[in-house]
């Protein structure tokens, strides 16, 4: 297969030099591979344009001085790269990015860990109550975040107390710390990861887990040494999706801190910080958005190595 893809690639360049349309059409009819290739390129270019165009538009906006943003065309009016400096002068945007990154990462770690265990259970074990539990977990995602907010806000700001006989314990005040964001994120984004991992873990052949167990791992050991590595695409995807969800979240992100970078406010707060009472510096916000998306781009670049790995080949004879 590798070879086939190899030729695919090579021929790709030759294709461009080829002659007129008709000749191409006739070769396509003879050799449908060409048609696939053509479709492939058309699709790729189409997707690239549609997904990247809004970013280009953001770049146009950011490079145009804010006062000139009106009647925009496809090119920036003016050229103001200094905006990428100004944005850091106006708001400590890097700190917000850092906060988002930390929040995203810690949530992702918690979610992957707990969802892995749950995914293993749901994907590979049969036990009473399984379907019911899965449905219950799924049901959590039916609710808008607002439905969770008030009780959690009280819980995390010390407003909830547990009465244990004579002693009353108040919940700690965690406002302006990462905890009241990370914990709700973990709970709210976990169902998706549980479901993703359930499907992926469920597909790993039993034989491999068996082999690991006979070699001396516990079932959990087999999970971490064999099943998770083999489900790398699924795990990486669940991770990326969770991380990005945190990056995107704006409800808890907003209300569980006072909006200051020093209070762990994430990137959303940072971007809104640029906004004045009435005036909106679109150029700064656009610049901030471009910069703000970078960590995710880097994460995706890193994670994609894992997302792409057809690893099951060669494992089993069956």
């Amino acid at each position: 297969m590798a070879t086939e893809q190899g030729t695919f690639e090579k021929d790709g360049d030759a294709e461009i030099k080829r002659g007129p349309l008709e000749r191409w059409v006739s070769t396509v009819i003879k050799n449908p591979k060409r048609a696939y290739r053509a479709m492939f390129y058309v699709a790729t270019v189409f997707f690239l344009i549609t997904t990247l165009f809004p970013f280009y538009w953001l770049l146009v906006l950011s490079l145009t001085p804010n006062e000139l943003i009106s009647n925009m065309g496809l090119l920036p009016k003016g050229f103001n790269p200094g905006v990428f400096v100004t944005m850091f002068e106006r708001v400590p945007f890097h700190l917000y990015m850092f906060n988002s990154f930390v929040l995203g990462l810690s949530t992702t770690i918690i979610v992957l860990l707990l969802a892995s265990l749950a995914g293993y259970v749901f994907g590979r074990l049969r036990f009473p109550g399984r379907s019911l539990l899965m449905l219950a977990i799924l049901a959590i995602s039916y609710f808008p975040p607002a439905a969770f907010f008030l009780p959690l806000f009280q819980l995390f700001t010390g407003g909830t107390s547990i009465v244990l006989g004579p002693i009353t314990v108040s919940s700690p005040d965690l406002f302006n710390t990462p905890a009241p964001m990370v914990l709700p994120f973990s709970a709210l984004f976990m169902p998706l990861s549980i479901f993703i991992l359930t499907t992926f873990y469920g597909q790993i052949p039993d034989g491999l887990e068996d082999a690991a167990r006979v070699e001396g791992t516990t079932r959990l050991g087999a999970l971490f040494r064999v099943i998770i590595p083999l489900s790398a695409p699924g795990v990486a995807t669940a991770g990326v999706l969770t991380f990005i969800s945190v990056y995107n979240e704006f409800f808890f992100s907003f209300l569980m801190n006072n909006g200051e970078a020093s209070s762990w406010a994430p990137i959303v707060a940072g971007i809104l910080k640029y906004q004045g009472q009435f005036d909106t510096p679109y150029n700064l916000m656009a610049a901030a958005s471009i910069v703000g998306v970078l960590p995710v781009a880097i994460l995706v670049i890193i994670a994609q190595e894992r997302i792409v790995s057809g690893l099951t080949a060669g494992a089993l004879k069956e």
Partner: protein, 316 residues
């Protein structure tokens, strides 16, 4: 630990996840449900804090609570559903249209994107990043992008009567973001732009997990590319696709952020818009009521969905 029975072992492993869900999700939900049983008006007969039982729910269904919700923009959308009336039904309508259309297109496009990304070609990693990156754009920004593109006199995608832009010629009004139909359309486009990556990413992961030797067998058996897709690829990634669609459907039915940032909840009131608007107006009981009814509706949609695909998924 290893000597636990399978059931004990299962619950043992589930414990941490269940614990966090219990405290962070279930406990607040119960509390919130409690709120929905109290009045939240500072005026009127039942005053703030008074226990009213299920009255809030009854009011929601009878339309007696419409005043508290953002109005339905287009009167044509206020047509009643059999079981809900007034603004709620209009929001339900908007939400269902949004959900159906956006999930449909996201699935289709996501599928194609995943297939493209599954190929081995030079520069694949960059194409992959490009395709995934819209999903990483914070909603605020995405709203801003779209808002500005469709803002008369700023964006180039709308013009004026004297100087119509391309999309206007196709029927888009000159003030698309104040018009429910146009806004809904643009919001769907925006959501598809952003969220297709979610689908693509998941489906791609599914594709990557398929044992490649099965394709060898299929090829030798005489399968064309399409047949390989239909008989091997598709059934094997179906569980993943279903999970992706399931969560997209749920997500779409809770759509709020993109609406608020692009067109505003007054223009395109979705179910979650009702929840958040009332929440922001400190009408916590109404908000809770709407949230629970909404969750119930999502539950209905999801169970239809699950029962349809239960066999294919094999998971539930």
């Amino acid at each position: 630990m290893e000597s636990l029975t399978e059931t004990q072992f299962a619950y043992f492993l589930l414990a941490p996840a269940l614990l966090i869900l219990l405290v962070i999700a279930l406990y607040p939900l119960i509390q919130t449900f409690g709120y929905s049983l109290y009045a939240d008006q500072l005026t009127g007969s039942a005053r703030l804090g008074q226990f009213v039982g299920l009255q809030n729910y009854i009011d929601l269904f009878t339309g007696a609570r419409d005043f508290a919700l953002p109005s339905a923009f287009l009167p044509t959308f206020t047509t009643s559903f059999p079981f809900v009336t007034g603004i709620y039904s209009s929001a339900l309508m908007v939400t269902l249209i949004f959900t159906f259309v956006s999930v449909l297109f996201e699935t289709l496009l996501g599928f194609v994107q995943a297939l493209v990304l599954d190929q081995d070609f030079r520069g694949r990693r960059w194409v992959r990043v490009a395709i995934i990156i819209p999903w990483a754009v914070p909603i605020v920004i995405q709203g801003m992008i779209w808002y500005l593109m469709f803002q008369p006199n700023i964006g180039f995608l709308v013009g004026s009567a004297d100087d119509p832009a391309f999309l206007n010629l196709l029927g888009l009004s000159y003030t698309p973001l104040r018009n429910t139909a146009d806004s809904l359309f643009l919001i769907i486009v925006g959501d598809v732009w952003k969220t297709t990556a979610f689908m693509a990413l998941l489906i791609l992961a599914g594709l990557q997990s398929i044992d490649r030797s099965l394709y060898d067998v299929a090829k030798v058996s005489g399968a064309t590319k399409w047949q390989q897709f239909k008989m091997i690829t598709f059934p094997l990634i179906l569980p993943t696709v279903l999970v992706a669609m399931l969560f997209r459907t749920i997500g779409a039915m809770r759509v709020y952020g993109i609406i608020e940032t692009m067109a505003g909840c007054t223009t395109v009131p979705s179910l979650s818009c009702l929840v958040v608007t009332t929440f922001n107006n400190s009408m916590y009981a109404t908000s809770a009521t709407v949230a629970f009814v909404t969750a119930g509706l999502i539950g209905i949609v999801v169970s239809v969905y699950i029962s349809k695909f239960a066999d294919a998924e094999g998971g539930f």
